[in-house]
Subunit: 340 residues, 2 copies
């Protein structure tokens, strides 16, 4: 038997355990299996490969939790949760083309396994399918149409955020506010799509929907900040690699931007040198790590991410509470307490 | 002053003139200009470049015409017409990556002008924006949500059709039914999205919506058949090039499939040789042209496309008629009477 959310009260304090104990991820996986059986057509096969790779299902779980947090019905919003996972996976499939990433969730990425043309078309099919799935929510047309709007707007934000991120390359002097805007657009988008549409579909009032949206923005921003911090928080080969990858891509990550704000002229020159593309990715990352550690920028960046999550918890106070709100709180904590 | 549809009665018989006299295309272009002003952000610039290239606006005109043909209001469905153009343009932008096409509508294609990453992200943003635009129709939520479903389903069909087309490569023995399925999925999809959502948004009853959908399927199929015929119908360098391009891509086009059905063993071997990739595109196309002309396959294929359009006209008889239906009839005729 799968544990029920209500069994999880004594798990409070361990967000990963609370999330794992939620039956929502398992229900979602079963729903994906049902919707994408093996042996249909080629797009079906590629979609199945992309969707059924092991993932945390964080965003669809948030959608269901947001709906339940305002008194909504889980079964009615399950198609919307599936839709959010489609958008997330479509963005990963297209990202893997753009970034040339060969691995995703421990397996060959879709463009590597099936080629770029199939990766483009399958990503498109997933984006289109998500809107078909949204129409299957067992709810009146008005909230469903509002959810269509929320997801579409957030999806466009995601695209704009990706473009904005590309503009920030090589620039450690990027103002923190610009970084936050990029993170809220790019990483916040899917959290926002999940929480906003969940609250709308769950029947939340205007104030509750606005609170769920703010909560998602803050969690998304903190999530991206923490992602950027990961290479500096651990010593493993894996995260070292991702740090070199960021540096190799000349991406000014959050702790680098924080360090720039704290640094004198000499350290600023070193940060610029590390992002210039003149050194190897491994050398660049080593240089960044040296400067950031010396300045205490990692701790300061981590404190900013934690402050973002504290604010997110305050947004949750507007919601009626219950299991859904507890699950949202766990996701918020997890955003800055994960090692990958 | 732009001519009104009602001025165009005496233009009947000249579908291109009827279409040109319709104010809908100009209204749509003005709406696109309004929605995509210059100087926003990068995604905005790329979208503007892709959307405002000179095009016939065939599909959005069909959406408005289908809505008017069942008594709907043009202003209320204009956002949906814009949405259909987004879907069309997004599919062109992503197609140009897949096919490596450098020219589109007489200018550099989006991937050539802005690079593949921007082309991927802009196509995605257009697909997502189209659903946001759909929610702006000034109509009750129920028909708008039905239109969301119609457009999403047709969009998925478009993706499935592209994958099916890839499976048909190199095979002149492709059964005509398989070709028709591919054409209805791939090319029919956007016509179907336009006519079905137009009829739904215009307030059409079940029978009218079904007739508009069948009409669109037939026009789409005939449109693809005629596209495949174009290289064999003219002697210009341009269409010769597109014929060589099809042959170079080893794509079995409609007249080739028809020829295969009429041919004996020796001619079948020649058709297979032409699609084998062993000869240059120009040689392959010359060989196909020789065999097809000798067998009379071009005439037979053209007759089948014309029969498809005759059936499309019969579907229109279910609609109340008026300017909208007249415009749909003109588009149907144009599908098989255009030289590009």
């Amino acid at each position: 038997m799968t544990a029920r959310i209500s069994d999880a009260h004594d798990l409070a304090g361990d967000p990963a355990a609370l999330l794992a104990a939620s039956p929502v991820a398992a229900e979602l996986r079963a729903e994906l299996e049902r919707r994408w059986p093996a042996g249909t057509d080629h797009i079906g096969e590629v979609s199945r490969y992309a969707l059924l790779a092991p993932g945390k299902m964080l965003r669809p779980v948030m959608l269901v939790a947001a709906a339940e947090a305002v008194g909504g019905d889980r079964a009615a919003v399950l198609p919307a949760a599936v839709a959010i996972e489609y958008l997330h996976v479509a963005s990963l499939v297209h990202d893997d083309i753009i970034d040339g990433d060969e691995l995703r969730r421990g397996r060959a990425s879709v463009p590597v396994r099936f080629g770029v043309p199939d990766a483009i078309v399958t990503g498109d099919a997933l984006i289109l399918s998500l809107f078909a799935a949204l129409t299957e929510c067992g709810l009146p047309a008005e909230p469903v149409l509002a959810a269509v709007r929320a997801v579409a707007d957030a999806g466009v934000d995601l695209c704009r955020g990706q473009a904005l991120e590309a503009e920030l390359l090589r620039d450690p002097a990027c103002p923190p506010e610009r970084y936050r805007r990029m993170a809220a657009l790019k990483t916040g988008a899917l959290f926002r799509a999940a929480c906003r549409s969940g609250a709308v579909l769950g029947g939340g009032d205007t104030e509750q929907v606005a609170a769920a949206t703010r909560f998602a923005d803050r969690v998304g921003t903190a999530f991206q900040m923490h992602d950027d911090l990961l290479p500096y928080l651990a010593e493993t080969e894996v995260t070292g690699k991702s740090g070199s990858s960021d540096a190799g891509n000349m991406r000014p990550t959050f702790p680098v931007i924080v360090a720039h704000g704290m640094a004198g002229a000499r350290d600023r020159a070193l940060l610029a040198e590390a992002l210039s593309g003149h050194r190897s990715p491994v050398e660049s990352f080593a240089l960044l790590r040296e400067v950031l550690t010396r300045l205490g920028a990692v701790e300061r960046a981590a404190a900013e991410a934690a402050e973002e999550i504290r604010r997110a918890h305050r947004d949750l106070a507007v919601l009626p509470g219950g299991d859904g709100a507890r699950l949202l709180a766990a996701v918020a904590d997890l955003a800055i307490h994960r090692d990958r």
